[in-house]
Amino acid sequence: MDKAIDGTFAATLRSLEENLSSVIRGKGKSTRLLMTTLLAGGHALLEDVPGTGKTTLAKSLARSISGIFRRVQFTPDLLPADITGSSFYRPQDGSFEFREGPIFTNVLLADEINRTSPRTQSAMLEVMSENQVTVDGKRRDLPQPFFVVATQNPSEYHGTYPLPEAQLDRFMMRIAMGYPDHESEIKVLFSQQDHHPFNDLKPVVTCEQVIAMQTQVRGVRVDAAVADYIVRLVGCTREDARLRLGISPRGSLALYRTAQATALMEGRDFVVPEDVRALAVPVLAHRIVADTKAKYGGLRNEQIILDALEKTPVPR
């Protein structure tokens, strides 16, 4: 009995998806993956070649949620305080006043995240894993919901700093946009004839609704056999000799949550192994580090995850 799926939930999801599809055409899978990440309470990394609509998708999602949206363009001269905020001295009364940085928002678009120095990137670590910021020894909580959508271009290497494993691990999913298909690209051309459809976007879901949906996701049933399957899958990568770094428990938890979100989006209140298999690559591929030989031998992370899927028996 799909008791978790009520009309409200399904209607909200539908309107969100339609809103996004009106701007981003032909990227149904990416759109759904992004929505899955939002419902699972994680953060998304959109990675692809320039011009595929990464920033547009992130901005569309942000506008669809009637919360605060901030954008940070990560440049090489960006400082950590530019993200988290810092304390200013007030000469009038001799006190320090904290001015919040752009991180204090519901949706943060971190554009070209790999263009800033590792020092600035590390400012995001606490933010993304714990939803809080510590400045001058004082802890400040971020608003709820808090969702980071980062974009990066994998093919350029000049002036970029690859994200450290610790930060990559904090992204729940890495979504590759890809090129639109032929018909969809034609529609893109015509849809932007007069103006960009992004300007017509209106918010369709409130922050409270997002939080409610995230709570519903956590109630989705995961059978012991499926949990076992997730852990075996992840364990397979830890024993893979080609990898220098396997998947952490954060990875298995991310897979667990996204599987729950996927099940709910498909109208089920329980997770099936197919949910896990469908999400294995976007959720796990960016967390592993192949050793030098495998990397330069042309082995891709996605292939390693697919190999793990092949090796692990499915529960029945």
Binding site: V226, A227, R277, L309, P313, R316
Partner: protein, 671 residues
């Protein structure tokens, strides 16, 4: 308390409350089978079955409690059949038994409090506990009498061998054996410390039990045999009653007698007194002559009303007997004095029967009074004022003895009130009582009747005893310590000693105290249970009991076999996550589907889900499989991963349809 211990006190490692309860229950089982130990076997076997069934409900994953309970129960059984011969009234109190149980339980408690489970790493198994507990018991057996240990230890070792199977999988030592070894050593050291503490506790428990053995034994005897020692023997029923301010200073609710019978006589005599001097009635018990009861006094051939009286107190050895009794049947040796008081020398505390004669067969128990006895019973005490004597003559009138006595009783009831206390002053209290028409308690009324009857020429004596008024079940009266009462007996020719109770009805014990509370009634019913159960069990023929034991053992064996068989067939799941395991039927349905795929040469690989496999097959042109198989997969997924057990009939129906369509050639449906 550290977090580790705190977390150990709930969920999988909670304190074995069930274990403690089981140990107490098994000891209680031994109580009630005292003297007839074979009868305890079926009861304890039933308890074992019960704990076997209920411990799974207490905590499905808590094997500790279950094993602990089984040990406690088996020890109880062995304790019952392995007891040494001889008169061991309460066997559980023997040091060797309490030693083993005390140490075992305390060791179990301590070790469980110290356990830190880390699933996936080192699985702490009950085998380790049992092994360590076996060492404890061996140590204990060297300290005390070894006899029962020799019986218990082999069984214990057998349990140990069975439970050591749980020690097989102890985690993943392959990766880092050194770290694992270090951890195991640490764990053993921790347990060693806990075990030492446990042994100290255990010995402490045993020490306390043996030191206070007497107190505990007497409590247990009370509990078992419905014995209730009357505190501060009420009103000196067996000693010379003294006329004083308060009759019964500390009336207690303790039950003294249980009376069965249909008689309406409510006065039960304990002692009678006929000599009054210095405010005291005598002779006291030390100055009486008791003669062994004659055959006539014990003649059970007497017909008439019968009472069955069960004493519940061993405070004194006198029997309470209705005034009109003519014979008594008791198991011990009886003695009777000239005033009709009956004493039981040995066997005090067992039930006795009293027979009261029909009017025409009337012969008092002690026989007719002889001349000396009559003279004593007519003697008016010297301390009595002449005005009292005049009053008595005026009150009694000139009728026959019966009417005179009636006048006395009526006069006293109408001219005097009842009072729980009465201050007699220093002079003869009876003078003050009668001349000044004072309010007093029953002793004064009784004494007044005696004096006035004697003045009127009717032999009379003072009686102390009980007034039975409280119903207790069907045709049964219960007499409590507070029902103590005093009245008079007057001798009427042709009728014998007649009860004359001149106390106003407001002064009778039932009016003064009122009914016992419901709570009291229920408590007394509950505490009577062990005795009643024992009596019932002793009546059951031995053969019937052996048959019952055999049936219970057979049932247990069958249940055990079924459980082992089912456990073997179940699919292993590492952790349930709190969800129930898939049912046998669902697993069977899955197997059937796999066999169906195999028969169609489209077996599904282990690394693919059925849905992916079936979708792939259906996508081929033409499809090589029935579209119903997708329906089956969807229904199966819902049941298997969604917990929707109600899908099972649909799953089985779909399977039947698939198998039927497979049997018919060309029956595949194309998508």
């Amino acid at each position: 308390m550290s977090d580790g211990i705190k977390s150990n006190l709930n969920e999988q490692n909670r304190l074995p409350v069930a274990l403690m309860l089981a140990a107490l229950v098994s000891m209680w089982g031994i109580f009630i089978t005292d003297g007839n130990r074979f009868l305890g076997l079926p009861l304890i076997a039933l308890l074992l079955l019960g704990t076997w069934a209920t411990t799974r409900r207490i905590s499905p994953v808590d094997r500790w409690s279950r094993w602990g309970l089984r040990i406690a129960m088996l020890t109880g059984i062995l304790g019952v059949i392995g007891v040494p011969k001889g008169d061991v009234h309460l066997w559980y109190m023997q040091p060797q038994f309490t030693n083993a149980i005390g140490i075992l339980l305390s060791a179990e408690l301590m070790l469980r409090a110290w356990i830190r489970p880390e699933p996936g790493k080192w699985r702490t198994s009950c085998g380790m506990i049992l092994f360590l507990s076996a060492i404890i018991m061996t140590a204990a057996s060297n300290t005390y009498d070894r006899q029962p240990m020799h019986t218990m230890i082999p069984v214990y070792m057998l349990l140990l061998a069975l439970s050591l199977r749980a020690m097989v999988k102890v985690g993943q030592p392959a990766k880092r054996p050194a770290a694992w070894r270090r951890a195991m050593v640490g764990l053993l050291a921790l347990r060693g410390g806990a075990m030492l503490l446990a042994m100290s506790l255990g010995f402490g428990v045993v020490f306390a039990l043996t030191r206070y053995e007497n107190r505990l034994t007497s409590w247990a005897m009370d509990f078992l045999r419905q014995d209730r020692a009357v505190k501060g023997s009420a009103i000196g029923l067996n000693s010379a009653p003294h006329l004083r301010r308060i009759f019964n200073p500390a009336p207690s609710m303790e039950r003294v007698l249980l009376v069965q019978g249909t008689s309406t006589e409510q006065h039960l005599k304990v002692m009678a007194f006929d000599a009054y001097e210095n405010r005291e009635w005598g002779p006291n018990i030390g100055r009486r002559t008791f003669n062994a009861a004659t055959a006539k006094q014990l003649n059970s051939g007497e017909t008439g009303e019968r009472w069955k009286i069960l004493p519940l107190s061993e405070a004194f050895e006198m029997l309470a007997v209705p005034s009109q009794a003519s014979a008594i049947l008791a198991s011990g040796a009886l003695e009777v004095d000239g005033l009709g008081s009956v004493r039981e020398r040995e066997g005090a505390g067992s039930a006795y029967e009293v027979i009261a004669p029909r009017a025409e067969d009337l012969v008092p128990l002690e026989g007719w009074p002889d001349a000396a006895e009559r003279k004593r019973a007519l003697l008016v005490p010297e301390s009595i004022d002449p005005k009292v004597i005049a009053l008595a003559r005026e009150v009694t009138g000139n009728g026959d003895a019966a009417s005179r006595v009636n006048h006395i009783a009526q006069y006293l009831q109408s001219h005097h009130e009842y009072s729980l206390s009465y201050d007699p002053g220093t002079d003869e209290p009876l003078n003050d009582f009668l001349l000044n028409r004072r309010a007093a308690h029953c002793q004064y009324f009784a004494s007044a009747v005696v004096v006035m009857a004697r003045v009127a020429g009717v032999p009379a004596r003072m009686v102390t005893g009980y007034y039975a008024s409280e119903q207790f079940g069907d045709k049964q009266l219960v007499v409590r310590d507070r029902d103590a009462h005093a009245w008079a007996e007057c001798f009427i020719d042709g009728k014998g000693w007649v009860t004359v109770d001149a106390t106003p009805s407001s002064g009778r014990p039932d009016a003064v105290f009122g009914k016992a509370s419901k709570v009291r009634e229920w408590w007394e019913w509950f505490t009577d249970l062990p005795g009643r159960l024992r009596q019932w069990m002793e009546k059951v023929p031995r053969q019937a009991m052996l048959v019952l034991i055999a049936v219970i053992a057979a049932v247990m064996l069958v249940v055990l076999v079924i459980r082992i068989w089912r456990k073997r067939r179940r699919v292993k799941v590492v952790a349930t996550g709190g969800y129930p395991r898939p049912s046998e039927e669902l697993i069977a349905a899955g197997r059937r589907f796999e066999r169906w795929l195999l028969r169609r040469n489209v077996a599904c690989a282990e690394n693919r889900t059925w849905r992916e496999h079936v979708a792939g097959l259906l996508g081929q042109s033409p499809p090589v499989i029935d579209v119903k198989s997708l329906q089956f997969v969807e229904a199966y997924d819902r049941a298997r991963f969604g917990g929707a057990a109600e899908m099972l009939p649909q799953i089985q129906t779909t399977l039947d349809q698939l198998e039927q369509s497979a049997a018919q050639p060309g029956s595949e449906q194309h998508g």
